[in-house]
Amino acid sequence: MKAIEVENLSRTFNSLRAVDNISFTVDVGEIFGFLGHNGAGKTTTIRMLSGQLRPSSGRGRVADCDVVAEQQRLRPLIGVVSEHQNLYERMSGRENLEFAARLYQQDMARVDAVLKQVDLLDRAKDKVQNYSNGMKQRLVIARSILHRPQIVFLDEPTRGLDPVVGREIRRLIVDMSKEGVTIFLTTHYMEEADQLCDRVAFLSEGRIVALDTPANLKTAHGKQQVNVTLNNGESVTVALDGEAAGRELQQLLSTGQVKTLHSAEATLEDVFVELAGRRLSE
């Protein structure tokens, strides 16, 4: 059984085709990255797969539930971290989670366990409006995993966070994955996707333009060459296209003048630019 199965899914808003006939599957326990520009259709896809938005056409199954016909069965099986920190700001962190626990009919003891997991136990009684951005984001993640979902949708979970907090959030994502939770992640940060995701899909104007492991994408679209910098500052590029390359590299190394040696494989960003025609940050 797949955690997520999507077949020819589309969503149109008036004349705008926000998601255009996409198909993919996500394995159980996988971290699946969904990358694209603003307006590419990432959030619309999450909203359809989490039962918040009805698809215009196509079919989606999440946790073996049809996203249209079996919404009530689906909802307790998924967690959603929205791109907005949609918390009740006048309530404390604990009250936010207690409310979620009542909605999902969870034991209140679970609230403390999750607060501890995201390192917010000490600030649990504080009102959310007094939390930092990073604390709010950790609380949103805590709320999404409170009911032990099989699949968690994370929409830009590290956007606008400082690097230290971003790293903390990534640690939480890895922890969730280790516990067997399937992660569906959208992000602007290519390094983050490269570091976290088992597979990534590139979305451009509502369509999937590539889907593979980060390593395969980089290999398929990167240049097979090595950049060598010598002690005198000179740079030499060696194309890895046969036996001659090996001899050339050996010769350079034998001179003892090699300062650095880097493979020139493409980054995910390079691959994305090649496939989507512009950078993610544009």
Binding site: R75, S82, N86, E89
Partner: protein, 356 residues
């Protein structure tokens, strides 16, 4: 519908509303206005000196009781006919004509007639205080809630002064206060509860949780009901002496409550953010509240226009049911209100589900 989810949403909103300064203000405003009226309408503990003219040919325990009341001065009239002229001459707040066998009939539970003259030259608050004094004293003497048939007669009544037509100012103010409470629910409380979920995007969280749209709507409506019952309940309890027919009053209140919650759901679903609520809510409140004011006879068309507002029928039904006046007009008012409530809920259902 999942009742544990509905109760979770209601519980969250009931607690959260108290922390919302704007909502809290909307909720306590009717209590504040009621308090203001209490101060303006002096009660037992805050009574100005009152001069009463009394004619009791055979004496009465009622007169003795009034005489023992602090701040009350009794002037005796020689005859029943002289009572009115004495009220006018001495500028008394009112006068009583106590029949000869009043005390005996009272003791026998015969509900004797007691004629009370109210000096309309006195201000409304003095009149109201006088009416309350007589009501309380008669009950105190008889030691039962409905001891006598009180006949109120206006003295020096001005023509074309509909404001003073109100038999008892408190019976005008209580429906007004209740409709103000209901109006706050329909114009501010329920719309804000809905709009804030949209504005802060917490609705996205709710819609991805086990809560269905119907659960969310029911939770918001129930929060409106809880607060309205609480505030309305306080107002009714502190004015309980004005209510002659409890079952009908409660029926009217329940119908009115359901109506305004429906109005709140419509307003909340049509507006997108708090600023829009702030802009439109006052207008909605004024429209809901306007028919509860006593007619001031500005123009006939204005009075007729009030008939187009459902709260006119609520206001009328409240006055009639509180006074225990069970007439066909009361049932017509309730039927119109019920029809409007059904219409409003149909509108709310459409407005809330129109985006699919």
């Amino acid at each position: 519908m999942n009742f544990s989810v509905v109760s979770a949403i209601t519980r969250k909103d009931v607690i959260d509303a108290i922390r919302h300064r704007y909502l809290l203000t909307a909720l306590v405003t009717p209590l504040f206005v009621a308090l203001l009226f209490r101060v303006m309408l002096p009660g037992d503990d805050n009574r100005k000196p009152q001069s009463l003219v009394v004619h009791a040919a055979a004496g009465s325990g009622l007169v003795a009781e009034l005489r023992n009341t602090p701040q009350v001065t009794i002037v005796e009239a020689a005859s029943a006919d002289a009572t009115v002229s004495e009220v006018q001459k001495r500028k008394a707040v009112g006068g009583l004509v106590v029949p000869a066998n009043f005390d005996a009939d009272l003791a026998a539970g015969n509900q004797p007639q007691l004629t009370i003259y109210v000096n309309n030259q006195k201000n409304l608050f003095e009149q109201a205080a006088f009416r309350r004094l007589v009501n309380q004293t008669v009950r105190s003497v008889a030691k039962q809630p409905e001891p006598a048939n009180l006949v109120w007669v206006d003295v020096d009544k001005k023509e074309n002064d509909p404001l003073r037509d109100a038999a008892n100012m408190e019976q005008v103010f209580l429906p007004m206060l209740l409709i103000l409470t209901f109006g706050m629910t329909g114009a501010f409380v329920v719309p804000l509860l809905i709009v804030e979920e949209k504005e802060k995007r917490t609705l996205d969280f709710l819609l991805s949780s086990p809560a269905s749209l119907n659960d969310i709507i029911a939770g918001k409506a129930l929060t409106g009901v809880v607060y309205t019952l609480l505030i309305g309940g306080v107002l009714v309890v502190i004015n309980r002496q004005l209510i002659r027919n409890w079952p009908l009053t409660i029926l009217t209140l329940v119908l009115g409550l359901v109506f305004v919650v429906g109005v709140g759901l419509v307003v909340g679903s049509l507006l997108k953010n708090t600023m829009q609520v702030n802009t439109w809510a006052s207008f909605v409140l004024i429209v809901l509240l306007a028919p509860s004011f006593p007619s001031i006879g500005i123009t006939a068309w204005f009075d007729k226009a009030m008939h187009l507002i459902p709260t006119y029928y609520l206001s009328e039904a409240l006055r009639l049911s509180m006074a225990g006046t069970i007439t066909s007009q009361l049932w017509i008012n309730l039927a119109v209100l019920l029809g409007c409530t059904c219409g409003v809920f149909a509108g709310a259902w459409w407005a809330l589900h129109r985006r699919g």
